[in-house]
């Protein structure tokens, strides 16, 4: 069995296939030359530990909660209905 998962499963999109236009972009990256000195430079954004927001739960407003429920795709008898996860 192939170790590479098909793109439709990877993307959870029925019938999805790879695109020639996108593959052309990837080819450019594959063929690009990397200069080691620049790639070792750390220019990423980083957030210092002191700057992290407090790890506390903030309660949402009533209106937020109400809209979240309203947005739920399927409701029945006061319950939020989801697809069957465990098949019998």
């Amino acid at each position: 069995m192939s170790k590479i998962m098909p793109v439709d499963l990877l993307s959870s999109i029925k019938g999805a296939t790879s695109s020639k236009a996108v593959d052309q972009l990837f080819e450019v990256i594959k063929n690009a030359e990397i200069k080691q000195d620049a790639s070792n430079k750390n220019t990423y954004n980083a957030v210092s530990i002191e700057d992290l927001r407090a790890d506390v739960v903030e309660n949402s407003s009533e209106i937020t909660k109400q809209i979240i429920k309203e947005n739920f795709p399927n409701q029945k008898n006061g319950y939020l209905v989801v697809s069957k996860v465990i098949e019998g």
């Binding site: 170790k3 590479i4 998962m5 793109v7 439709d8 990877l10 993307s11 959870s12 999109i13 029925k14 019938g15 999805a16 296939t17 790879s18 695109s19 020639k20 236009a21 996108v22 052309q24 972009l25 990837f26 450019v28 990256i29 594959k30 690009a32 990397i34 200069k35 620049a38 790639s39 430079k41 220019t43 954004n45 957030v47 700057d51 992290l52 927001r53 949402s60 209106i63 937020t64 809209i67 979240i68 309203e70 947005n71 739920f72 795709p73 399927n74 989801v82 697809s83 069957k84 996860v85 098949e87």
Partner: protein, 487 residues
């Protein structure tokens, strides 16, 4: 080439006057409201009518109730003799990727066409707190995936100047609404050029701020490492006024940063000692339209005539910039949009089991272009591809960032055209995705570098970009104002 006579202000450091068509619309309307020449309700009603009747497909939802309620409050304040702030009563538009509590936020997609925002984005909340009037959720490319605002379930957005042409994208509806003066300013989103390119196509200003200067909280994520929130407006001063309200650190977005206020009084003075650069390989290649090339070079000449040094810089070729940007952006959007499976919100299509529900929901509700980007992103993140493509893309991005750092040691401003070609006709690029990706050649590099870049509606037929080092928004706005004077 005819050499234009040098305007007298170029020889002095004196403050020079803005051209009349560049006066702040915000300031003008503010004065009219305070002077009781107009009421806010009448102003808002007029704009709502225009938005509803508009022929450009620039509107997804008109926010009648919200806008008229807010306008009535402004009128009450004025009638009570209370002072109002500069943005109080100013009508603005919102790209349909921002949360505004209780309003539909569709990202121009079928998947979220009935989705209601449960909360409000930080940038929008700041504008509401300042009294600005939210008028409209604006049409755009679905989830920001496009450069023409044709990838939308609300119909292709038409250019404000020539309706047979595209509006540009992805913030096409926002650019058109500003250009048509249906809104005084609009809040767009720019990941790889989505504010700058439609601004150029519709001949208005559009600013992509330094990454993090404006909180992304409440913006539907496309590619989180380059997503930015910025204004589109008809004058440089209005861009500055809006930026000063929406900027700032936000605990809800850990990548947001503190920034200094843009001094609007400085913007009208001549920028002194500014070193200008441009990327010669953007100009010296076969891909650029000869007209745009000629116009850009003529603009450089005018800058030299005004006494500024202009340096040609080496930079990455367009193919590498576009491929690096799209590789990383697709990887990020594949990850960000994986949550959209119809379970908790969105248009769910029931399948025979959970997995099929996900797959059918996503295949039926994402547009072709969005699917293409999600699939591409998952490909580069998957085993066997990530080292050769995704990680290499990250390394290239580091090189691009390092090159910018070195360039901004040599110059203060980099100028570039917004696009290599003129504005396409509707239908021309949607079915040619590779051509659409390449049309972003001049905008995506600055996104990877997280640099502030302003599109000005002159310099070439699709505008000119003015870029500075990180947090140099004031410098680029001041230089843009000077550029406007020499046109």
């Amino acid at each position: 080439m005819a050499i234009s006579k040098k305007p007298p202000f170029l020889n002095s450091d004196k403050i020079f006057l803005l051209k009349t068509n560049e006066m702040s619309l915000i300031q003008k309307i503010h004065n009219q409201l305070v002077g009781k020449e107009i009421t806010c309700t009448a102003l808002v009603q007029e704009k709502l009518n225009l938005l509803r009747e508009n022929k450009y497909n620039s509107v997804n939802v008109v926010l009648d109730e919200l806008a008229l309620e807010a306008a009535a409050k402004v009128d009450a304040k004025i009638n009570n003799g209370e002072e109002i702030g500069l943005l109080e009563g100013i009508p603005f538009g919102i790209k349909d990727v921002y949360m505004v509590q209780g309003t539909y936020t569709s990202a121009s997609s079928d998947l979220l066409k009935n989705y209601k925002s449960a909360y409000t984005a930080t940038a929008i909340q700041k504008l509401l707190d300042a009294g600005a009037i939210p008028m409209v959720k604006e049409n755009c490319d679905s989830f920001g995936h496009g450069s023409s605002s044709e990838n939308t379930v609300f119909g292709s957005v038409k250019n404000a100047i020539n309706t047979s042409l595209v509006a540009g994208g992805s913030s096409g509806g926002s650019a058109v609404n500003v250009a048509a003066e249906y809104t005084v300013f609009s809040i767009g989103g720019d990941t790889g050029g989505s504010i700058r390119q439609p601004a150029g196509y519709n001949k208005i200003y559009g600013l992509k701020p330094t990454y993090g200067r404006v909180s992304r909280f409440g913006l539907m994520a496309y590619a989180s490492s380059t997503d930015t929130v910025g204004p589109l407006a008809k004058s440089i001063e209005d861009i500055a006024i809006v930026m000063n309200v929406i900027s700032g650190k936000d605990s809800k977005d850990q990548t947001s940063i503190a920034s200094e206020k843009i001094e609007t009084s400085v913007l009208t003075s001549k920028p002194n000692g500014v070193r200008v650069g441009y990327f010669k390989n953007f100009i010296e290649n076969d891909a650029i339209d000869p007209v745009i090339k000629t116009q850009f070079l003529a603009t450089l000449e005018k800058i030299k005539e005004a006494g500024y040094s202009v340096e040609a810089l080496d930079f990455f070729d367009a193919d590498t910039l576009v491929s690096t940007y799209y590789t990383l952006a697709m990887a990020e959007t594949a990850s960000n949009l994986s949550r959209l499976d119809g379970t908790n919100y969105g248009e769910r299509v029931e399948g025979k089991n959970l997995k099929e529900t996900y797959m059918v929901t996503r295949s039926e509700n994402f547009t072709e272009e969005t699917q293409r980007r999600i699939v591409g992103g998952n490909q580069v993140l998957s085993q066997g591809f990530s080292d050769a493509i995704y990680l290499k893309g990250q390394q290239l991005r580091k090189e691009i960032e390092a090159a910018f750092e070195s360039d901004f040691d040599k110059v203060d401003i980099v100028l570039s055209p917004v696009t290599p070609s003129s504005v396409p006709k509707i239908g021309e690029v949607l079915n040619n995705p590779h051509a659409m990706y390449l049309s972003d050649a001049y905008t995506v590099g600055f996104s990877l570098g997280q640099l502030p870049t302003l599109t000005c509606p002159f310099g070439t037929e699709t505008g000119i970009q003015v870029t500075g080092a990180k947090n140099k928004e004031q410098t680029i706005l001041q230089f843009a104002n000077f550029l406007n004077q020499v046109q």
